[in-house]
């Protein structure tokens, strides 16, 4: 018998790699935070013993979900201003609130609220873009959650930096600080083509090459963005990015709702990724991302919720369901984006986009033990013909019972182990009082 740290036994296991596989009555052996073995439970019981053993015999285990586009701290603005036209929402509500309120405390409290919500819906890793990325990184590392921290760059001054040069230099400091942290990685995060000019984009491209990190950017989110760029420069934003050399396997293009068939095939040749945020695109009436067409073209499509101010939740299980349903309607094909494809988008595709697929995104030997357990024994997921179908189409976030990140048990029978939920709620209430008066 080999001694391991933890053994998790489950009814069903969807490892994502190999694709579309479902194991029944399987176990995971975890040692020093990584998956040491994955094998039938009867073999596990005769091979390993463990200090900690979990029997999840009503549960499906999946790789921890990867939320590939967030503005975590914006959770504190959830529901501040809904049902408004995009321009009014941004100009009269969100931007003024951000200008007035964002500081280190806001980012800390908002990020904690977001992480608490994300863990409770099975998310183990998030890819963030916001001000004070140092605070976001510290909050994630402290909580034990995996995070990809966006080194935000915008042309105009904010409380975080005065100009593009300062955004970049402060971002590089964050990158240096966390370069050896096993949980925290960094990406450059120039906000969008319409808010970052050529010079900083060229600088970012050079630095991203040197440091071998990716670039996370909102691109072709709305028709207005594309039309205005054409009006001002004669070029569509993607064309400009191509000319600046930004399109490569290092690019994560978020939203991409405004793409012609030519755009899709050209983008596919660059090896760039797309982060699909269906609920935010719907809520802001940004347009429909042709997600199935992107997949068909061979583009790696990950999934994100966007910030809670435009969603208004960070529930990746719900986002998976919306992506699956909407994908069929948008491509006029009820067989588009099937459940297993959606699970890949929310796990391994996210890991690939973030450049961490050697470490997470599927349940295979050697990767970090980033694991989510979903109880499928509830009334709402009966009868159970196919566990992955029930996961995507019928499960709610409340069915997520346990979450591990790098083997650490961060959600235990729906209770957070490293975050204080009551304190987080209390601080959210205080922010509400401040912001709404």
């Amino acid at each position: 018998m080999t001694k391991v740290d933890t053994l998790i036994h489950c009814r069903w296991l969807a490892p994502v790699e190999p694709a579309t596989t479902i194991y029944e009555h399987y176990s995971l052996a975890i040692q020093e935070g990584r998956i040491l073995d994955i094998l039938p439970t009867d073999q596990a019981n005769s091979t390993y013993n463990a200090d900690i053993e979990h029997s999840l015999d009503r549960h499906l285990l999946i790789p921890g979900l990867i939320n590939a586009h967030t503005h975590a701290a914006m959770s504190l603005l959830r529901g501040l201003a809904d049902d408004l036209p995009l321009h009014e929402w941004l100009n009269e509500h969100i931007w003024p609130a951000e200008t007035r309120w964002i500081n280190e405390e806001f980012v800390h409290d908002g990020t904690q609220l977001a992480m608490a919500e994300m863990l409770r819906c099975g998310t183990t890793c998030f890819n963030d873009m916001y001000f004070f990325p140092d605070i976001t990184a510290r909050a994630a590392a402290h909580c034990g959650m995996r995070a990809s921290i966006g080194l935000i760059v915008i042309d105009f001054p904010t409380v975080w930096a005065r100009d593009a040069d300062e955004y970049i230099s402060k971002g590089l400091a964050v990158h240096d600080q966390y370069r050896s942290d096993p949980l925290i990685t960094t990406l450059f995060a120039p906000h969008a083509p319409y808010t970052v000019s050529d010079k900083p984009l060229e600088h970012i491209r050079v630095l991203a090459d040197e440091l071998d990190i990716g670039i996370h950017m909102h691109i072709h989110e709305t028709a207005e963005e594309v039309d205005k760029a054409v009006e001002l420069t004669g070029k569509r934003p993607l064309q400009r990015l191509y000319e600046l050399g930004l399109a490569s396997p290092a690019l994560l293009a978020v939203h991409m709702t405004q793409l012609s068939a030519d755009d899709i095939s050209t983008y596919a040749t660059t090896g760039g990724h797309v982060v699909h945020c269906p609920e935010s695109n719907l809520k802001l009436a940004s347009g429909f991302c042709q997600a199935q067409a992107l997949v068909t073209a061979g583009i790696n499509v990950a999934l994100g919720t966007d910030g809670a101010a435009s969603n208004n939740d960070l529930d990746m299980l719900g986002e998976m369901r919306t992506a699956a349903l909407l994908g069929k309607a948008v491509s006029n094909d009820a067989s588009a984006l099937p459940a297993h494809e959606i699970l890949r988008m929310a796990t391994i595709n996210g890991a690939r986009a973030l450049g961490i697929s050697n470490d997470t995104g599927s349940l295979i030997k050697g990767k970090w033990a980033d694991i989510t357990a979903v109880c499928l024994d509830t009334l709402e997921t009966q009868p159970l013909y196919d566990p992955v179908s029930q996961l995507v189409y019928a499960s709610g976030r409340e069915q997520v019972t346990d979450v591990w990140v790098a083997g650490q048990h961060l959600l235990k029978d729906r209770c957070l182990t490293t975050l204080d939920a009551n304190d987080i709620i209390e601080r959210a209430r205080e922010w509400k009082t401040r912001i709404s008066t």
Copy 2:
């Protein structure tokens, strides 16, 4: 002090009538199943005493949700065949399974599973269309849930009836049996224009007039339906229904994804209702219902989940969220279908469509006490700037704690009081075993 049966005190109350109102620290006094009074809690405490008193000081009370289009018993086919083209899904999976398995036991067990799920997501009333409507009616009455039972009519024979005449006569017997039941009402339910010929539709129109009941029908669900009708008859289905005299304030047209601007303005003049089923329309790639355009045209739009085989849940809270998000994208306007409008669609509009708006659909004096309580104190709905925004955009079904129908407490701190959840799950498992072997 006046003695009443029940007093419910709450933090927030959205009565739906008057529109967009939110009361804070209000109470409902319930006597003999009906709302006797609705008033500030401090006044309630000095006016009424009650045998049963509930203090829901972290909760929003709303009228019980009305699911205006279901095939309840199909819950037993939830997830049997997902991600398939519509034709293959129906012809190779759903219809063969129905032909093989539907009987009184199937309808009883499937309806109980559906009602259990619906109560647990805040639904107090459902408008059903399925075979063995007598069994559905009996199950609902026995559970204490409000139901509008569709007297199904189809041209072809099934285990329920041989031909249109028999469907109609068996339907009339169900209508007679429940005509004085306070929970059960009936509607004629000719399945769709393409499955019911002119003669039975004319007969139904005459009977519906005589009995003063409505007509519940799938109409313009897919482009194929419309195209085939034009090919076969030279007429769009709606045109044929107009000529048959079926369009009137008694008609509930379900789906209506294929409508021109002219169709919308013409339908508005008939006074007919539309039941919008956004998730089913997405999942089956049926098309996009122009819900905001229908509302703008003055049409009463209710909301339904459709059956669990094409959704795959019966979660009206989730359906409200999808309707709100999708409505914005489809009308290219982020201010379309705001949260309060969505709450109306899921409550009073449903009651109007079913002809029961004098009895339910809003929390006003004299109506039945059909009430849903949603806890808004969870992490996922913090901070709380607007309770109805948080209800629609951030709440999950798990936040529904209590449900009353006609004053009977059917869901009590998430436990069903008149249905045996364990037994229902056990029977669903047995059906799964039978159906999948």
